[in-house]
Symmetry: C2
Subunit: 508 residues, 2 copies
Amino acid sequence: MFESAELGHTIDDEAYEKEAEKLRTALLDAQYELLEDQSFPVIVLVNGIDGAGKGETVNLLNEWLDPRHVRSRAFGDLRESERLRPKMWRFWQELPPKGKIGVLFGSWYSEPIYGRAVEGMTAATLASELEHIRSVERMLVDEGAVLVKLWFHLSKKAQKNRLKELERDKLTSWRVSAVDWKNFARYDDFRAVSEHVLRETSTGSAPWLVIDGSNANYRALSVGRALLAAIRARLDSRKAEIAKSKRATKGGRKNGAGAPAAAVSMLRTVETAGILKNLPFEERLSKEKYATKVLKCQAKLGRLSRSPKMTKRAVIVVFEGMDAAGKGGAIRRITQAIDARQYSVIPIAAPTDEERAQPYLWRFWRHMPRLGRFAIFDRSWYGRVLVERVEGFATENAWSRAYHEINEFEEQLVEDGVVVVKFWLAVTKDEQLKRFKEREATRRKQFKITAEDWRNRKKWDDYILAASDMIDRTSTSYAPWTVLEANDKHLARVRAIETLNERLADTL
Amino acid sequence: MFESAELGHTIDDEAYEKEAEKLRTALLDAQYELLEDQSFPVIVLVNGIDGAGKGETVNLLNEWLDPRHVRSRAFGDLRESERLRPKMWRFWQELPPKGKIGVLFGSWYSEPIYGRAVEGMTAATLASELEHIRSVERMLVDEGAVLVKLWFHLSKKAQKNRLKELERDKLTSWRVSAVDWKNFARYDDFRAVSEHVLRETSTGSAPWLVIDGSNANYRALSVGRALLAAIRARLDSRKAEIAKSKRATKGGRKNGAGAPAAAVSMLRTVETAGILKNLPFEERLSKEKYATKVLKCQAKLGRLSRSPKMTKRAVIVVFEGMDAAGKGGAIRRITQAIDARQYSVIPIAAPTDEERAQPYLWRFWRHMPRLGRFAIFDRSWYGRVLVERVEGFATENAWSRAYHEINEFEEQLVEDGVVVVKFWLAVTKDEQLKRFKEREATRRKQFKITAEDWRNRKKWDDYILAASDMIDRTSTSYAPWTVLEANDKHLARVRAIETLNERLADTL
């Protein structure tokens, strides 16, 4: 969830000025069109970590937009009139009418997150609050609102630096109080609760956008782009509807029909690609060291897999990665350590007719391991958001909602005692080329390389983008992704087994 | 939720035979069209109270449909292979492929309901299970499935009778075991948990259909009609899409786009109108008795409203009913008993421009009472599913989802300490006519009768249907409807105050 927001994006002032100028004009245009059209409101929720730039963002929006048609309200402690009324009352009072933009700073998320992380709210109460929130948001979207949910994130280190930085400067030191440091001490709890809340409330029509708050330029442009994309998509889909209904005899537009379009456009503005860039691809493990290490960690895996506690657990290992990234080799090093009766390797290719007649997760459910067993997937359900997305086999609507569906699916597995371990084997484009050529040159490896591999290679950047989005949106506390630098196969294999061992040791 | 299913519907054999014949033909036609089209599966969930005809329904479907293309599976205790895998695994194995009908007897609802009602599952676990269920169902619908969720209901009395009846007959007595009687003893718990589960999982695209299980003929026809309506609506919306995409240049149908149509068509087959028929309209309260009674219950209301415990509560009283049903008079008898600083009466007419620029619940949130206060609504948010539905001011899509939105809204209020009391004042059509004429004849009452009242009267049956659906779908344990026979105004007034007193006494 927070992966892409911890990459430390920066944008220098020159690049910032250039884009900001254009963005402001486009945003103002969109705002006036919205005002003119007057058919839907825009509701912006501003939440996130302290010091990640929430306040600055609210100020920025009032500066960039025509403030006469923006309604901002910060929700802090309850006022007397609010304390005496149902919780949601104060938010209803501040909803923007059609044609206007409302910025809710703090919004309906602050209380449940703070309550659960700090004040001992029970899991049941939180679940019920989140259910209400989902209902209210669904209703708002169904009624036609464009809902832009912004979460400003900082890594623990970045938050610490930010607080210190503010403290050092006499002009800003007043902004850091003892409460802020107290909250910082609870960073991990707060992060865990936030991740849970964001995941549970990131729906197809009202997804969260997580923004890296560490660089002011990057933050400002991200907010601007997202807001613009969301409003534009809705305005454009309205125009298309109107044009269409003029052509056709019957109209009958449903409210909220443009919601997925707005959500998808907005999500597309997040930059995730950095996740798979700048990895330390040059790291190497010598052949001798590898020989010793692999045996050692295989021995450990052997012991763990034979632990009596394994009878209460099943393990699913997922391998994804570009062609020739070394998935097969890594899988074989794992299976060498496990009793052959205890595992199955499931290679995933194109679906059969029977599988195509079912929901896409169906074919993976067929292979769910029993307790005590390992299922190792060579490619997996992530095909939906990788190959099916890139090649257009799935509609934008279908792969967009798949992130949430996959998170839900894996959560169910974990709750039922399955350990889910996911690897992305990362190789550089050059390294892939080297391996492709090697395969073509070696007789016994020729079966491994096909015309399709070369075709896929042409879409390298699309695949990297899809993989980055995938890692960003489906790395959860219960089923995190591990990215393995795999230009050195040996290193990747050892790290895969070590990671698996750690996850097993943690669970068993 | 269960109101319409406790009316004791019966259909005699002759009427049954006549309709069943037609229904079977239509169902078979639909089944073959589905098979031919092969673009979506139909998933029928069969759940409900023991003895309400679940098994008979599964048998019936296999008899009425071509059983070669129906896949039925009853889910009972877990088999070995199932016990060792994630909970949802066994259901995935039984999903019907596109073009086929799958009947899941017991389905994924049995375990959470039984777990919570009998085995001490916590509220938090239940909430999490329901969240998973909603996700899975949303995914199935998004993937194109038509989901028909049938709940077979019996009142406590009807279940008892049913068990005794089965026991009496030597041929069926084997079907009643000690477990059945043990479960019967838990009827109230089971009912409360079921209502909660049904409400939390009755979504716009996958609503529950509650069927009165007390009469076999009625039950069979209800199931047949619902299934036919759901399949037909989807087939027809597909045909329309195909025709449309042939006409237009661009196509691009989204999966599951026909889901609301199927759900709405299915819900339309339930007969709720009985709720407002056959009420004991002839009951009367003499003038003398009324004079004493009204004073007595007003005194009690006065005491309750001044109770120190009222400072932790707010009270919302909703009055709905046909024109001239006596809402104003009843409201005045209530306010007479309460301190004038403690209540406000909110008459709801057509929305203002400002209100129209907001989600429809917005204008009611404005009037939320503070703790310690009463807000009495003369008409209310139920306008959405009454006048807006009947007059076509709201789209079918909008008023269909409003039932769920209203239930959610009221649940939020109740959780935040508000007591919600709702009255439907029921008069007969003749009585309304009498009152209209009286109003026209009396100088000081003429302002109360307008051309609109006469226009509305012409749509009497539509209003009764809308009101019956409303009572059926929005009567919840936390905010039930009370139907008051109001042909005798005195009786209705006294009963309204008495009901309010009871609700207050229960809560304070």
